[in-house]
Amino acid sequence: MFITASQRLKLLLMFLVVVFALMAAACGDDGAAATEESPAGDGAYEADQLILATTTSLKDSGLLDELVLPAFNEAHPDITVKTIAVGSGEAMQMGRDGEADVLLVHSPADEAAFMEEGNGTIRLPVAQNYFVIVGPADDPAGVADAADAAEAFAAIPDSGTPFVSRGDDSGTHKKELSVWEAAGVTPEGDWYTSTGQGMGETLQVTSERQGYTLTDLGTFLSMQDSLDLEVLSEESEDLRNIYSVIVVNQLVHPKTNAAGAEMFAQILVASDMQAQIGEFGTAEFGQPLFAPNAAALGGPDY
């Protein structure tokens, strides 16, 4: 090193100045953009950005990334969609806090409460399918012979087979709790485990313990090869799973992008998108993962 200490110090200082200039420039851009585009109170706040809070199963199945978002981007290239995958419970909390513009959720009772509180302006069913009960092939609780999910669940505690729950306030967890209630069983005790994790991890645990769990079909099919579990349930009314889109109420949450949210909802319920949703998954799994369910198509309402 043939430079003197003072030269080195100067180099270091120059480096510092450059780094801070870069930081300032990076932050400055965003700051300027924010002030230009958000004249207070005109409702156009963040018009170029749409925050979508979605249930994990819709994102993880690939439906959003492969089908819905490309269609939306094509129709509205000026809007960047930020997809945040969380449980239905957390998604609705984001809506309540005005931190999301549009929600994709599957927890009908909570959705009704959400609308009742005035947090949403539009709620439309966009797709449906049936949850499935999976478990060991020898099926000690006789789930396969039960008439519906409540009857199947009722036999699990005494079958000596564990039940593994998501336990994470997701739509799937909510559905599971409603089935326990219908079955008249309090889900507590040695036979009942709560993972507090996503569907993938929960299926892993279920497979390791050779227990039962409630799952969406998409996640199960994509993991089937590595699991030692079988689909045991038939489609019954108490396993029906309805996905809805909700537009967050801009009057209550002024910083939300209601215009963008409405455009997103429109694309979802459009008849060509509904037809594509009805076919999604066929190429990969040999069966569709969702059935179209927009009321606009005369599909079943809530």
């Binding site: 090193m1 200490a5 003072s6 080195r8 110090l9 480096f15 510092l16 780094v19 930081m23 990076a26 932050c27 965003d30 700051g31 953009a33 924010a34 002030t35 958000s38 963040e46 950005q49 925050i51 994990t56 994102k59 993880d60 199945s61 990334d65 960047t80 930020k82 997809t83 945040i84 995958a85 806090d97 005005g98 931190e99 994790q197 996503g198 569907m199 993938g200 991890e201 299926l203 996640t219 199960f220 994509s222 993991m223 590595s226 949450h253 910083k255």
Partner: protein, 232 residues
């Protein structure tokens, strides 16, 4: 075992088929953590050195705060930074939540206490006689400072390596403030979690292997620089 092997094969396939998304995710991980570490080093090393040498009222409190900061779980940092940057939070108008900048900010908050605390320890660890000798030989304040940093360079480098490793493998904070948005803010760690959750285990293992290779490469490189500097 079969699954791990499958993951290895998938990792090799993804790496060599030039899968654009995987490269993008890996580059984003590298970029976010490197920027956060650079800023943390630029601010943190001088701060740590100053804390080591300057006595002032309340110094004990500051030192405890820094040392506590080293142990704060990243997800708590993420939660806190997320609340600050949220739309309806105090800095909501900057529109930074769910962006790469937000991830850099959160990681900076994680790295800064580590860099400051370990730099302080590195300088304090030096022989006090050395400092007195340097001053006695007529070195000015800045020159003394510089010479001490130079003397402690191996430990300082280790401090930066600890922080870098923590940032590259951190998942809690980037998940909360970045949102793990595909094509926008997904990094290797959050990508692994998403693929585990959705049952794509082979891809999850593949991303894990890529992350380990990245950490190995970066920290290995820094180790070489650190060990070479011993001889000069």
């Amino acid at each position: 075992m079969g699954q791990i092997w499958e993951g290895f094969e998938e990792a090799l396939r993804l790496l060599f088929s030039g899968d654009a998304e995987v490269y993008q995710i890996a580059l984003r991980s590298l970029w976010v953590s490197t920027l956060a570490l650079t800023i943390a080093a630029v601010i943190g090393v001088p701060l740590g050195a100053a804390l080591a040498q300057i006595r002032f009222w309340g110094r004990g409190g500051v030192v405890s705060l820094v040392n506590t900061g080293m142990g704060v779980p990243p997800v708590v940092v993420g939660l806190f930074v997320g609340l600050l940057l949220a739309r309806n939070g105090p800095f909501g108008d900057l529109r930074l939540l769910y962006s790469n900048q937000a991830m850099v900010i959160a990681q900076l908050v994680i790295a800064l206490p580590i860099v400051v605390g370990l730099s302080m320890a590195a300088i304090q660890h030096l022989d006090e006689g050395l400092r007195m000798q340097i001053v006695a030989l007529g070195a000015g304040r800045l020159r003394t400072f510089w010479l001490l940093l130079r003397e402690a360079r191996i430990t300082l480098m280790a401090a930066l390596m600890v922080a870098y490793g923590a940032l590259l493998s951190e998942v809690g904070a980037v998940q909360v403030v970045g949102g793990n948005i595909r094509g926008q803010t997904q990094v290797l760690t959050t990508g692994i979690v998403e693929r585990m959750r959705s049952g794509q285990q082979a891809t999850a293992i593949a991303l894990g292997i890529i992350l380990m290779l990245l950490v190995l490469g970066v920290l290995g490189g820094m180790t070489i620089i650190q060990q070479r500097s011993r001889r000069t």
